[in-house]
Symmetry: C2
Subunit: 112 residues, 2 copies
DNA sequence: TTCAATAGTTCATATCTCCTGAACTATTAA
DNA sequence: TTAATAGTTCAGGAGATATGAACTATTGAA
């Protein structure tokens, strides 16, 4: 199993971030991860909204978020802990990401 | 030729906007359109960066931006005028879009 | 150790999406 | 009319995405 790749901040791009967040499942994952009290394993996302996702698909989604520079994944025992990298992205991308998550949260609130 | 569809603000979604902006050519188009003095026809985007795009591709890109609610297209004589809809999106999406364009512009500046 | 269980990754492939050349539509001007 | 210009639509192949099956890594128990 090849080691997980986390791009350095200098390699992260706006397009890459937007692409990663262009899938509804992935915005939802990042949004939930950004709630500090959220469980951070892949397993905990087996259901997103009302949709059940197979683990190979989830693994792909996490990989895309990871390689866009949005999250950091770290093995802890048998599971993978994922957390947003936003503290590392200060200034450069954090305002954009925050405004995206804010708009997404507000949209969700309105639908409910 | 079926009439161009412009979604009402109530139908515009965060995911839709992020998807539309997940293609480098499309962020670039929106970014340029957001400069008031930019030429607004499709024709004027036949080259994006160093890449030459065929008009069928461009037409698709404009359609996606339009149907995500990001631009309004209007026929004027033989050509199509496109302008961003951000004034209509006040509050709901404008901050997000602005922060995206800002991050994109700053990234471009840094590369140059 | 070995075995089983759990969590996730990787691979193969079927499906879906996107890009683009070619044909078509709409408008204008000669 | 006809020609020119600007864009749309369509069809096909090329490329991306989703997912079941097989694999890897870690832990805990026998």
């Amino acid at each position: 199993m090849r080691p997980l790749y986390h791009p350095p901040v200098s390699e992260i791009t706006v397009e890459g971030i937007l692409y990663a967040l262009s899938d509804p499942a992935r915005v939802e994952i990042l949004a939930q991860l950004s709630n500090a009290d959220c469980e951070q394993t892949c397993k905990s996302f087996a259901k997103i909204g009302s949709k059940k996702l197979p683990k190979s698909t989830l693994s792909q989604h996490f990989k895309i978020l990871r390689e866009a520079g949005l999250i950091r994944s770290e093995r802890v025992g048998v599971e993978m802990r994922n957390r947003p990298r936003c503290s590392e992205l200060k200034g450069k991308f954090a305002p954009m990401i925050e405004s995206i998550l804010k708009a997404y949260a507000s949209q969700k609130r309105q639908k409910a």
